[in-house]
Amino acid sequence: MTPAMPPSAHPEDILLPASSPGQTSRGQRFGYRPRLPESHGLLGLALPAEPISISVARAAVRRWLAEWSWPAEQLEDIVLAVNEAVSNAIEHAYLDRPPGMVEIRGAIEATPRAQRRVTVIVRDHGRWRPPPIDDESRRRGIPLMQACMDGVAIGQPDDKPVGTRVVLRSKAVPPGRKQC
């Protein structure tokens, strides 16, 4: 029997580490690479930082949340927010260096009063891009993320002095059952 609610945990604690250097075969680099079974309420993928990846990221987030019966409007808000974070990484992270990967990791968490929410972390290994915004696409993108989410944090990863990490925490929604 599948539990309707996955165990609560912070995605940084439970998701596998980001892309490791050895994995450069074509299928791994350019396919989308689930990290852990989505049946555990987790999403994990790494995509090349190229414009074509953005629709793949949206489709993966949609499929993940639809599987968990996420309410349609909140689902689309999460897709919008993840889209902005991933787009910014694709456009800006690797401007001055060879293109790398963008990682998207998500977890469904229980909240007080038996609700649930998702936390999605979008991370790259390129240039650190602080939030004060001077270019126009990011100027509109960050308010859009903030409007769609309960919390948006943009920072540098703790473990490495490169890259940008965006943590998106969704609004809480009523409990729902996993669609089998």
Binding site: S55, R58, E73, L80, L144
Partner: protein
Amino acid sequence: MQESWDGGPESDLGGGPGPADEQLVRIETARRAYSAGMALVVTVTGEIDLLTIDRLRAAVAAGFEDLRDGEILVIDLTPVTFMDSRGLQALVDATQAAQQQREPLRIVVDHTRPVVRPIQVTGLDNVLALFNTVEDAVHAPL
């Protein structure tokens, strides 16, 4: 009277698109007659994002080029299934270009959430000339 052509970058603006962005978005420009007057309607179908935004910008630029005296330029977004902040910025830029060139530009959105949601949460419903149908857009006084 109706002429139709693809206003995408492959027409004469260079930067030919690959097949992927053509699958995600289709942009068609058509000259249409209404009782209130003529309109050049740029209809966008599909997803507006990082990959497809240049095609939208090129189609709108081509629309301004081809606009004849007395015509209204309409961007019809009702078949759009996804729009991000880049799409919002393209609409703001088109609106500013229209004001500078003194050309009438109107944007059509219906009540479907993929377009309305990003416009509303960023407050751009107060900035953009939005209408529910192409007919409404053409009939509205200048």
